[in-house]
Symmetry: C2
Subunit: 337 residues, 2 copies
DNA sequence: CGATGCATTGTTAGCGATAACAAGATCGGC
DNA sequence: GCCGATCTTGTTATCGCTAACAATGCATCG
């Protein structure tokens, strides 16, 4: 029975061809030191000849760990999370890890817990949770210990390893830029109240104002959408005293710009605007938007480094990395009339 | 030695507690018909009591298949691919599959092949490749047979199962909308020439023009970026005869709008613009953008359905699904002056 | 020159599940 | 009441790999 089913070759096939035991093949694959150079080459040749590729499932079964990193994120096309995810995948691939994405519809405790459990089933080597709201963080309370975990944009007060963008510093940058241009005060259209990102930006904005001895105007609440920026703009455009606005993200700024445009308030002549995120299109808003750029790539890399440190070194030292944003000057800021 | 290491319970633990063999537990888990109701309940209770969750790696090892679907996509924050990915994850999760993302930096043959191989290592149950350019498609030529595969946005002429958005129909919609408003002809700022999406939109635009007996103006080439739209706008704004422009995506339209605004060409009074994609912000451009909406959710669902059909039914009938886009009317189109 | 130790390789035993087969229990038909 | 068919359950082998230990060879040292 010469069945010519091209079953993909296993380790024993390689071993037979190379004239060694399967264990030696395993050693070559895992870069064990004690293998004679000549043997190593012979095994490598056999691997190449057969086109052998190790079976991850078998390895995962015996080691209890996979080369898989789970990422839990909200299923959204928000620019921030999407960029983060893309950057993270890239970084993980470079480190030889595959990324399994468990997107959740909402960031409530139950959804997050479910996504986490699904990943645990797969014996992921580590877990990254993008947890920008308190409810997401809560879900991680009763995580089984021993699973490497990094949260991104999580609660700074928790003990996990985490990576955060210094939202307050970014907001301060934006606010101070407007103050420096000569504005008496700066209004703020915020993100959803339960997001840490939004809270941090509010905090930085308020602190910058207070430090400068400027009046703190009432907060204009919004969500992250352009629509909420538009609504805010409809209101702010009616108040002649408003000469400077800092929005919690660029899309809100876009909505705001449109509302101002409709009501004849010229940007930056009548009112200056600063956004947050530096989406690729921000340079093409009317006018080009001055904004704050959080380094998503840096966040992703830092997150991966922290995770890999936990995975390899077994240290669960809850380290944290804070990424400082930078200000990108464009044309939406000018001195008040 | 009562080591209280909370090793996660295995099937034998459940079996012992329920007083049955591990095989019976396996049967309960896999919904085999021949298990007495009473036994089934006892096993279920034991599973619940121990918080048992099956080991995917072990199952994958013995069956040769995992509950993992691999998605190969370009690592990008382009709105289209990102939306597609998000929608797909959602759909897969509902069907009980995890999604492993293999993002590639570039869509060349080598990158794609590498990502595909990495997924094959993991014994994915199926593979979805978002292959909007020819080089990506080429890489799939020498795929090992027997792996369920669906391409999205791939070459319509290939024999794979695939899901495509009818780009030509969308472009036709846009072009005809402009023609119907009374414009003599419509200019087109295209996407990168090697993308099928871009090619399809060009084709639809040209066909609509020819069908209407309108002159076909020279094509203005671009990539997907807002910058390329801006550059195109700088040029088009200088030509008084240009009264209607169809851009290959919304971000290009944004750049175009800014260029027109800078040069004092009013939209839609002087020139009408239609985009493609319906990004969430399109309603807040100045003016709100009339655009074409491809149903990303529908694409993702169709792709998953096709894949699941192949996975379960073993049929490798190369089916194909074509999703028709719709036109979203806003305020960037008006009759010519 | 035999003992000692390290480098190298092989042997054996699982990891936790499913598949294939075997065996006991139950049931209907004559 | 006996026989074969069917339902239910258990036993054993196996997937492809790594861990632990055993065995071999060779150099070093007193």
């Amino acid at each position: 029975m010469d069945v010519r089913v091209t079953r993909s070759p296993a380790m024993t096939d390689v071993a037979r061809l190379a004239g060694v035991s399967h264990q030696t093949v395993s050693r070559v694959l895992n870069d064990h030191p004690n293998v004679r150079e000549q043997t190593r080459l012979r095994v490598r040749a056999a691997i190449a000849e057969l086109g052998y590729r190790p079976n991850r499932a078998a390895r995962a079964l015996v080691t209890g760990k996979s080369q898989l990193i789970g990422v839990v994120a909200q299923n959204s096309t928000l620019y921030g999370p999407a960029s983060l995810l893309a950057a993270f995948e890239q970084a993980a691939a470079e480190a030889g890890f595959a990324v399994s994405v468990g997107s959740v519809g909402r960031l409530d405790r139950e959804s997050i817990a479910g996504a986490v459990e699904r990943h645990l089933d797969q014996r992921v080597a580590g877990l990254v949770v993008i947890a920008p709201v308190a409810s997401a963080d809560d879900a991680l309370e009763d995580m089984p210990a021993g699973v490497p975990l990094v949260t991104i944009d999580g609660d700074p007060r928790r003990a996990h390893a985490l990576v955060i963008v210094d939202q307050a510093a970014g907001a301060r940058l934006a606010t101070e830029r407007l103050l420096a241009a000569g504005h008496r005060t700066v209004w703020h259209v915020s993100g959803p109240a339960d997001w840490y990102d939004a809270a941090g930006r509010i905090e930085g904005w308020r602190a910058a104002l207070e430090d400068a001895g400027a009046e703190v105007p009432p907060l204009v609440p919004g969500d992250w959408s352009a629509a909420s920026g538009y609504d805010a703009g409809q209101m702010l455009a009616r108040m002649p005293e408003v000469t400077a606005v800092f929005t919690a993200n660029d899309h809100q700024a876009l909505g705001l710009l449109r509302a101002f445009s409709e009501r004849g308030r010229k940007v930056p002549e009548d009112v200056s605007v600063v956004g947050f995120d530096d989406v690729p299109e921000a340079a093409f808003f009317i006018p080009p938007l001055t904004t704050v750029r959080p380094a998503f790539g840096a966040v992703a890399h830092a997150g991966l480094d922290l995770l890999l440190a936990q995975i390899t070194a077994e240290t669960t030292t809850p380290e944290r990395v804070v990424i400082a944003p930078t200000l990108v000057d464009r044309a939406s800021v000018a001195p008040p009339a």
